[in-house]
Symmetry: C2
Subunit: 403 residues, 2 copies
């Protein structure tokens, strides 16, 4: 007979998922209530209000999509984009390609611009592309974990508005550990996930839509036959997905409580607790914590004699890319770290595969003990693998940052 | 400050979600491991094997879709159906309309046939429709909770095969509490959810695909640019959704472990435990348990003087529809049951709204104590509401079934 779930202890210091905050897992183990129980709809309303704070928005349309972070991405794009719509996708890493690909599958006319991995776009380049493409939507990743970098967005909303475009961003990798301000930056739609700085498990995608974005979604509204009242809307421009139809999902979360899916109750309990922990700590305090431990980690990796990857000016606080030393088997090092020290660090994708590791310090794991332990263990493993490392150099450099 | 998750005690005797088995919630609170940790991929493989047993199939392609049950439905339909494909949807309740609607949004040419709610299709009617429509796919709900009925499927697979059609069914409402045999019945694709007889929370959709269904999916394979190797497949018949692209999801669960989403680890822990509990009890034993308690519940409701809804020959074991007595406010009764007895029973949709309640006894709640308690409480509430009920009639009738 298959045994019970009994995972070994792991310190997850990769680009995410990371160890969930134990408070989140405890919240998820609470008993279920019915989907229209006033207790449940109360939890839903509280969750919406908490994520408004996390996204720094007053958007009424702030809620959860039941699925992993890319469920949020697809819900945003398929609900906003109709076949033939022009969309501009600036790509500076793997998840830019994901936005491109999802938009293509929506039938949109996709215009992509690309930067070398390890760099971000100067805002002037984005503005020039918007001027040229005249998109309905600009879809850009905020922090792309594949390269560890974050695209500055603070000026982009105003530029989009000037050119009549909506701005969508995915903040899965960055939210909670890096500054993010949906309303101040003029972001129309933002999506996220829990498995990075929010310290929860993958499986829930918080999303927020500006009134302008809601207007687009509502103009395509169509209610399914099994529950539609006489004369219910049925747009000929119906959204191509039922599951990701944000119009119907908004009706489920809104005052009409019109049934769509059956909300994933345990996941909602977890998502609510993730946001509650972050709001309780204070968003600015949490960002400063990620900045401190990210800086200590980066200094420590350099202190070991390793070279950091990418434009450090635009690196996310919560993940550091570092070149694998010449001649070393990067996967063997990761394996030894996992098997002998129970510490996981990340591999990488595409052009960076085999060239860099990605080491994260985020959410519940953005702590001094996790950073120091990881540096000490990495030094030991590199030393045994025959790499030249500065003895004690990693931990010493990190301590200097903490001093 | 928003307080911690602290739901009140509830006995959920509606059509689902129902109370999760405490073992499932405990499994979900286990610590996370990395998504490519051998422990995690081991749990994934065990989960696949457990669901092969639950679905009674040898399909290699048996896995989880990260989302609620309708995520499984949409993944099946969007992966199988191309724009213009002919699909036959026999509708005998709300969830038939859902299949119709999802298939329409996939761009398929949808041919629906309908039965009055409360009845199911004679197999001859289905065969005649298949002969007429010549569909690529027949998509039919197994048990439709909206009407409490289950469509017999045991002969349908052979008929579909004879006419060159694939057979898809959604067994969310029935699986685990009613006989189901994917391979013996010739079902090509089956989807489910956890929140009914599987005794887990909503949020995960187990799915199984026959080799013939996998062939269709693989013929449309396209790997996203951010992770594709040189020369990776890129079908011009690409599936319209990235999130629900079963070809990519199969690669993630299969030996290549090609990254798609980040698996919802806690949800997987829960799904694995749901199946483990069921397999441990024995599938036949679990079905017999649902049959017994469903029969006791139905007898009890009749013993109270109430009239059952729908063709009882084809009622699912796990949910009973019952007419609201003339002149009674059905919602007020439900409210009193919830507020004063902490028991939830279900309302209904569409043509049955305001006419019937739906009372479930499924999964963890398919027990003698839950059935007797619900009948006693319902009697008390009906009595206080001024309805004519046979005193002790419900509990007595149920006891007779148990005798």
């Amino acid at each position: 007979m298959t045994g019970q779930i009994n995972p070994p202890n792991r310190l997850l210091m990769g680009p995410g998922p990371i160890n969930a905050d134990p408070r989140v897992l405890r919240a998820m183990s609470a008993a279920l209530v019915g989907q229209y129980d006033p207790v449940m709809t109360g939890y839903m309303a509280e969750t919406q209000e908490l994520y408004r704070q996390v996204f720094r928005t007053r958007n009424d349309a702030t809620l959860l999509v039941d699925g992993t972070s890319r469920a949020g991405i697809e819900a945003a794009l398929v609900s906003l984009l109709e076949p033939g719509d022009r969309v501009l996708v600036p790509i500076f890493g793997r998840f830019g390609y994901l936005l491109q690909e999802v938009a293509e599958r929506c039938g949109a006319e996709v215009h992509s611009i690309e930067r070398e991995w390890g760099t971000v776009f100067p805002v002037s380049e984005l503005e020039a592309a918007i001027r040229r493409v005249k998109p309905k939507l600009v879809a850009v990743v905020h922090g792309d974990t594949s390269t560890t970098l974050a695209q500055p967005l603070d000026e982009l909303g105003a530029i989009c508005r000037e050119h009549g475009a909506l701005l969508y961003t995915d903040a899965t990798a960055s939210l909670g550990g890096n500054e993010f301000a949906a309303d101040d930056w003029g972001v129309d739609v933002v999506t996220a996930g829990l498995q990075k700085c929010l310290a929860g498990p993958s499986g829930t995608a918080p999303i927020s839509l500006s009134p302008a974005a809601v207007e687009v979604v509502e103009s395509r509204k169509s209610i399914e036959a099994g529950i539609a009242a006489e004369g219910a809307p049925r747009s000929p421009r119906r959204i191509r997905s039922n599951y990701f139809d944000l119009g119907m999902i908004l009706d489920y979360w809104g005052p009409s409580r019109l049934n769509h899916h059956t909300e994933a109750t345990s996941a909602l309990y977890g998502a609510r607790e993730c946001a509650r922990i972050l709001v309780e700590e204070g968003l600015d305090v949490a960002v400063a914590r990620h900045e401190l431990h990210g800086r200590a980690l980066a200094a420590g990796l350099q202190g070991l004699g390793l070279t950091l990857f990418g434009d450090q000016e635009h690196r996310m606080n919560n993940v550091v890319g570092v070149f694998i030393p010449e001649g070393l088997d990067g996967e063997a090092v990761r394996r030894t770290l996992l098997e002998d020290f129970a510490i996981e660090i990340g591999t990488s994708f595409g052009p960076l595969h085999g060239r860099i590791w990605r080491v994260g310090t985020m959410g519940y794991n953005a702590r001094k003990d996790t950073v120091l332990t990881t540096l000490a263990a990495l030094e030991a493993v590199l030393h045994r693998a025959g790499a030249k490392v500065a003895p004690g150099g990693g931990v010493t450099a990190a301590y200097e940052v903490y001093a």
